[in-house]
């Protein structure tokens, strides 16, 4: 299929349809409203469901109800809206239902701003809602990767029977880039008869299914949380994704950066290379599971003297980077938030300060 030029937000909506998701519930919020606008037009064309809910709180539970029936379902939002969905995400995790959440991040805390940010790293990777759970979090660095990750997310959500989050930012949502939708990323929906409340007649079964997150018996709750933990451990083995850039050189500094920010870092690295300065980049594509071993290995390369986490936040992923470097190298941080994305020149200035 020929490439088309699409806004990230619209491409994410199309990717969901191409991945076999015919159900979309959402509430408008800048900078991701184009997903809803796009799917309001597209879903009827494929006999799909589009519903604008009354709030992100309600949308979270529309997703829960639909996914508990075993249907592929997605919502998209931006930071303040994702906070409101945090409750449902916690319930969906506990009840082990597959669902895809997209967060096109904007600046925070509070109402913050509407420009790109990476301020929801903690929220996405460490919880966001209450209780012991994690999301599988994928962070694209552009429109094509947003498409591919969205398409893969539905299969992953079913593989782990839990929520998967695509963590993008306002720039990825608003920017247009050429994209294609690889057919081979479409996965067949899994059989959900052993758990989904799809109606006993549908399953031709007398056994009813129950989707719940309440476990009053301490042992039952502990067992459920152990089952969740086992899934997170499996993700750590099977779903780690990252990219190395200029890491085959004898770099003195290793940058760890993801999403839009990593693209700026790549430009800085190319510019420094022309001046004979080698800098490596480790870009996590999965934020949970975090590429722990890869960060450790890349940071402890003999030539590498220091590590810096560069983010569009006040320093969130840096805590994971520090954890993975295990004290073997000095870990610095540079970040800006508020919407002005650090320029390549600024990054070069910061890196030169480390040398």
């Amino acid at each position: 299929m020929a490439k088309v030029l699409m806004k990230g937000n619209e491409a994410i909506g199309e990717a969901a349809i191409r991945a076999g998701c015919k159900n979309y519930f959402a509430y408008p919020i800048t900078p991701q409203s184009e997903v809803a606008e796009y799917l309001a037009k597209r879903m009827p064309e494929v006999d799909g469901v589009f519903l604008q809910g009354e709030s992100e709180v309600a949308v979270g539970y529309m997703i829960f109800g639909a996914s508990a029936c075993g249907e592929r379902v997605m919502t998209t939002s931006s930071s303040p809206g994702v906070s409101l969905m945090g409750e449902a995400i916690s319930y969906i995790s506990a009840a082990q239902c597959p669902a895809v959440f997209v967060n096109i991040m904007r600046g925070g805390p509070g109402l913050g701003g509407i420009l790109p940010s990476q301020g929801d790293y903690f929220q996405a990777t460490k919880g966001g809602g209450h209780g012991d759970y994690h999301l599988l979090v994928l962070a694209p660095d552009g429109v094509q990767e947003a498409v591919e990750m969205t398409m893969k997310a539905f299969g992953l959500a079913e593989k782990y029977r839990g929520p998967v989050m695509i963590l993008g930012d306002g720039l990825i949502g608003q920017m247009m880039e050429p994209v294609e939708f690889p057919d081979d990323l479409m996965t067949e929906p899994s059989n959900k008869d052993d758990w989904a409340t799809s109606g006993m007649d549908t399953r031709k079964s007398d056994k009813r299914n129950l989707v719940r997150s309440l476990f009053l018996d301490p042992k039952e709750l502990n067992d459920n949380n152990l089952a969740l933990k086992a899934k997170y451990e499996q993700m750590k083995k099977e779903e780690v994704l990252y990219e190395g850039y200029n890491t085959d050189t004898d770099y003195k500094v290793l940058i760890v950066s993801y999403g839009t920010m990593s693209r700026v870092c790549k430009t800085s690295i190319d510019m420094m290379k022309q001046d004979g300065i080698e800098v490596g980049l480790l870009r996590p594509k999965s934020l949970f599971p975090f590429p722990e071993d890869a960060v450790f290995k890349a940071s402890t390369k003999e030539s590498c003297q220091s590590v810096i986490s560069i983010e569009m936040s006040m320093g969130q992923m840096v805590e994971d980077v520090e954890r993975c470097v295990k004290g073997q190298r000095k870990v610095d941080f540079y970040g800006e938030c508020g919407g002005d994305i650090p320029t390549p020149e600024k990054i070069i200035e910061i890196i030169k300060g480390l040398l």
């Binding site: 030029l5 509407i114 552009g142 608003q174 920017m175 880039e177 050429p178 693209r263 790549k266």
Partner: protein, 179 residues
């Protein structure tokens, strides 16, 4: 090799569309492209601007402080962004609305009365097409025929206005060649 073009004007001048058409043509020609809008409250009637990045390799930072070229459709845009343009670039000035100049001697100015040309061609709304074709005729960033086809395709659903836009396109090219 990477080229960045900033398009700026006020909302309603079709800034985002001309930028998109350029990005589309560049994509068709096999380049990597990114179309990066400004967005938010300022898009409601205020200044609209966006940047097209065209490159022969995968695009790193899509955030461009200093573009190679500028297409300024109104005076505030020229005043705001003229000094950001890299030396050697082209600054398109829509002289129908901009009586001033960039006051730089390290760039090339392309002065075209886009609104007047568009009005003569049939509608002031085609000023963005005049600007686009004039700018590309001058800079040769993409193939002109290919770009013209992209413009034509863009209006496929509104066949009635295709001749107008084709005329505007040709007049834009002529104005650049006579500049």
């Amino acid at each position: 090799m990477q080229t960045e073009i900033k398009f700026a004007g006020f909302g309603g001048q079709g800034i985002l569309l001309s930028a998109k058409l350029l990005a589309y043509a560049a994509m068709k020609q096999g380049f990597f492209v990114a179309w990066v809008p400004s967005y938010g409250p300022e898009m409601r009637g205020g200044t609209a601007y966006c940047t097209v990045v065209i490159s022969d390799k995968r695009i790193g930072s899509p955030i461009i402080k200093n573009p190679s070229h500028l297409v300024a459709m109104n005076r505030p845009s020229l005043e705001k962004f003229a000094n950001d343009v890299k030396p050697g670039g082209v600054i398109f000035i829509n002289s129908s609305l901009i009586p001033t100049r960039s006051e730089r001697d390290d760039i090339t100015e392309l002065i075209v009365p886009a609104n007047d040309i568009a009005t003569k061609a049939g509608s002031i709304r085609a000023a963005n097409i005049v600007a686009l074709s004039a700018f590309v005729a001058k800079t040769k960033i993409v193939d002109l025929e290919l770009l013209k086809n992209c413009v034509k395709n863009e209006f496929a659903a509104k066949a009635k206005i295709i001749p107008l836009n084709m005329k505007a396109f040709d007049e834009g090219v002529n104005s650049a060649n006579n500049n």
